[in-house]
Amino acid sequence: MTATVAATTRRRWRAPKYALALPSIIWYTVFFAAPIAFIVFYSFGTKDTSKLLPVDLTNLSTASYKEVFDETFFTTFRATLRISITATLLCLVIGLPVAYFAAFKVSEKWKAIVLAAVVVPSFTSFLIRTVAWRIPLAPNGTLSKFLKDLSLIGENGIQILETSLAVQIAIVYNYLGFMILPLFVALDRIDSRMREASKDLGAGRVATFFGVTLPLAGPGIIAGVLLTFIPMCGDYVTATVLGGAKGNMIGAMIASQFSGAQNWPLGSAMAVLMIAAVLLTLVVGTVIVWVIPRIVGLGEPLVQRWRRAMRARQVQRGPRAGFVVGDSVLHRLLGVWTSLVLVFLFIPIGLVFLHSFNRGGSFTIWSNAVSIKWWGELFDGAQVLNTAIRFAVFIGAGFLAKWMLSRRQMLGSRTSSWLITSVVVLAFVINGLVTSWYAKIFDYAGIGDAIRNSFMAAFGATVIAVLIGGMSGVALARRPGRWATVFMGLVFLILVTPEIMDAIALATWFPRIQDLPIVGHIFTNGWGPFNGGINKLWVGQSMYASAVVTLIVRARLAGLDESLEQAAADLGAPPGRAFRQITLPLIASAMIAGGLLSFALCLDNAVISTLISEAGSTTFPVALLGATRSTIKPFWGVGAVSLFVVTMTSLWFLVVILRRSGDSASNIAATLTGS
């Protein structure tokens, strides 16, 4: 039996090992490798503003590189690395106790609450949270006045805005969550028996932490550092909004070469050197991490001797009461620290919410009067009310139907548990049809359209990311080979390339390919209901997201035995059927988690979107970034709060569905962080 099956498989044509990864390979070649190669090419060109694409490639030189190494530009490079490294270390130092507390010191229920509290702020628009830092830091703001009244600061108020300190604070704030989550997952997975064994063998709390816990959490620390350090290096929003002239960062400077200054060669050279600097820093970081324990290890005999001596002395004198920190004190300290960090994470959110009720004409300046004026400006009250009533009626009818049917026992428990969910979906669709997909509930079209475009772009990009990322993840886990090394290298490169680099590469790439027959047509004229701009956003946003999905799916499958698929094959299932019935269910939760993560990332994408968006595809972050150039009206706060509510509702809805399908909440959280 087995022999005949083997014979038939041998006779059939076998697809190459990388077949499933082929869509990704094409996608990455066309929209990542080629555009980036052109950036490298531009960096050797010369500026020529008389051309439509202002770069002359006939006359290659390294002049732009020389210019970057010139003192003026190089200082910005140094400042960027300084800010990013400091912020990464601060995130680690601030985040580690929080992750430790959540992983070891609290009950399961509180674990979920702490985690949720860390995640929730990142579902408010990144940009509005950054802008919100202008409120407490303003020299004429409430906090300044309060501190002045206490004579804690001088007459000029808090002088932090428009300096690199403001950028430093906000950047730590913006990326802290990305550090805490992977740390938590890594710590949470540590087998508690390891730590117990360490303590049983006589190690103190500190020794256990440094000797057992921290090394076991290594992968989490690495993931956290990568997730924070790389985006920080390319960060362009924080410095633009808060940095002024002094807190300038390289991301903003590169972007300005491609917009205002029209100096593509200089911008390209800066971008190339930035990637080089990021990679170099990572290498140096790795070396340091590798070397330090070994150097410390050299001194180990000395330390041991010293310890023994200390212990001998301690035994002579008896225990020193003052130095022993009780378990409960440590617990309480960690708890206080965690609460402080959570308060820090929620300060800007609270301010955004408060200032959406501001009566004055500017979002950042509180007028001392609460009013719903700007909510009225943004929303058409009657339509909102109608929509809400329709939702309420539908859900009410759903509950009524459930109650009646369950009384007559006409309904299986499985069907009844899905009833309400289906009713909500139905209400959503019907309301959508009535209000031309919720466009009518907005009085001020600009923000309504922007929110809709954000969802459309993020949704499409997520679908692409899940499809191609999922497929290549499967291929990597199940058909490894030499191609996998190369492909993983590409994925790693996508992950470590700061977003601004992708942004400029794609922004300069689309004009080049717009005359190609089919591809060009899609990006200029769009297809179906989607215009060219939305298609460009799908490409731009899917890049990082699909790399993330690839890793998540690969990690998930790598942890699972291949025997199930082999059994299916042995039992005669053709590869397609084995994939559908065995592999797909196995990776479903990883794909959903990857999808959720990429949706959140795409929804908030400002950098790529700003450089490639067009009139019909302006997303919320793009529109808001445009508005930050002059005065931000309070209705942007209203828009951000609405977006937050919509995102949280859909997330909650998805989590409910996931739980119905049997995945536990902690599993969802774990896969969400990409491990």
């Binding site: 200082t75 020299p139 205002g260 004409g361 909102v384 019909g616």
Partner: protein
């Protein structure tokens, strides 16, 4: 609630218009007509709305309103139209729903349009006049059909037929303004009158607390004006001297490059800032909003020379809704609409016989001296010319930004 607000704006506005018109003319019940011509449709049916209690039909202004449909995408400078006009009023009067995106400099605008090569999706763009020829040359804007903009005749001839577009084939004046600065007299106690004073203050008591306009011609222009050099100079020695001073000596004192300092002035971020007259006029409102004392702040028009810039409405090449774009430009030239816009952004919209329009339509306009300049002031204004030196100025700004962060 929201419904009411939406309706309130136009009603209130219409009421204000007719009341003022009535007060002005005195003669009752003449009625002025707004002609709604369904432009572009095969039968040129025209709808006439009679508004009683007004005699403004004979005042020499054209008030044609062409309706259109669909969406209209405008790419413009920050906060550059009354939100009522681009929001509810455009919807109810023109029948178009407007989308507005913002850019920070003419170079930004040109890059964005060039990158999509006629497929940016924008209908209306608002470049500064001198940039119009290169946008024509690069094929970024298309010819206007002036027959669809009958209210063009409402413009003062002084603001039509400019050097960059002698026959207004591509551009129509949106508004014009000038450049000056703004300072807190409790922090900068000396009297300031000239650009040289501004530069001195930035390098001394205002060091680390001053903001500059974030466009290359204005940033370099400030130094040229202060030193009595025409800012359109192409002389290498002048440009070298400008670079040497701005990059080596001046940049380190700058707190931010910010073309719209009004909000941040109110936050207290700067004690002096260079800016355009309209934005600095709004700063007074925001400072009062933030609980500050507007009287502490002084506006100074740059001297001995400063600029005259004119931003123009153009239609982007490949505009998806050129019909609506014409309708919008035409509508913004209706005197009542134009003055409503002017009251919001604080720039002169270039209507003919402006004085009597203001007297009739906006008698309580505050700080008019920041909008309307005396002939003596206008005599010191210089209009930008696009020369090869612009590239150099962009480089200077670029280097100054890097230096300021050091």
């Amino acid at each position: 609630m929201a419904k009411q607000l939406r309706m309130l704006a136009p009603d209130d506005f219409r009421e204000k218009l007719s009341r003022r018109a009535f007060l002005k003319g005195g003669t009752a019940a003449a009625g002025f007509a707004i002609v709604l011509a369904a432009c572009g449709s095969s039968d040129d049916e025209a709808v006439t709305i009679e508004t009683t209690g007004s005699d403004m039909a004979d005042d020499g202004y054209s008030r044609v309103v062409n309706t259109a449909s669909g969406t209209l995408a405008m790419y413009t400078w920050g906060d550059y139209n009354d939100p009522d006009l681009v929001g509810a009023l455009a919807d109810s009067t023109l029948g178009v729903s407007m989308k507005v995106d913002y850019y920070a400099s003419n170079e930004d605008l040109i890059t964005k349009l060039a990158a999509s090569n006629g497929n940016s999706g924008f209908d209306i763009v608002v470049p500064t006049g001198p940039y119009v020829p290169q946008m024509i040359e690069k094929g970024l804007i298309q010819k206007l059909d002036l027959s669809l903009i009958p209210n063009f005749s409402n413009l003062d001839p002084a603001y039509t037929s400019q050097a960059w577009d002698p026959n207004n084939e591509y551009s129509v004046c949106k508004n014009w303004g000038s450049t000056g600065y703004f300072y807190d007299k409790t922090k900068i106690t000396r009297t300031m009158e000239t650009w040289q004073d501004f530069i001195d203050a930035c390098m001394n008591e205002g060091s680390g607390n001053c903001a500059m306009i974030d466009t290359a011609p204005n940033f370099c222009g400030m130094w040229f004006w202060a030193n009595g050099i025409n800012w359109n100079t192409q002389d290498e020695a002048d440009l070298d001297a400008c670079e040497k001073f701005l990059v080596e000596e001046f940049a380190q004192h700058i707190k931010a490059f910010d073309s719209y300092p009004s909000t941040k002035l109110a936050e207290g971020a700067y004690s002096l800032a260079m800016g355009w007259n309209g934005d600095l006029r709004q700063a007074y409102v925001r400072i009062a909003d933030a609980g500050g004392n507007p009287e502490d702040w002084v506006w100074v028009l740059g001297s001995p020379a400063t600029e005259l810039w004119m931003d123009t409405y153009c239609i982007a090449a490949g505009s998806p809704n050129a019909e609506a774009a014409h309708a919008w430009i035409n509508w913004d030239l209706v005197p009542e609409i134009s003055i409503k816009d002017l009251e919001y952004h604080g720039y002169n919209t270039g209507m003919k016989d402006m004085e009597s329009l203001i007297a009739n339509l906006a008698p309580d306009l505050e700080r008019g001296e920041m909008i309307f300049f005396t002939p003596e002031q206008v005599a010191t204004f210089q209009t930008q010319e696009i020369t090869p030196a612009l590239d150099r100025m962009v480089d200077i700004l670029n280097k100054a930004k890097a230096k300021a962060g050091a």
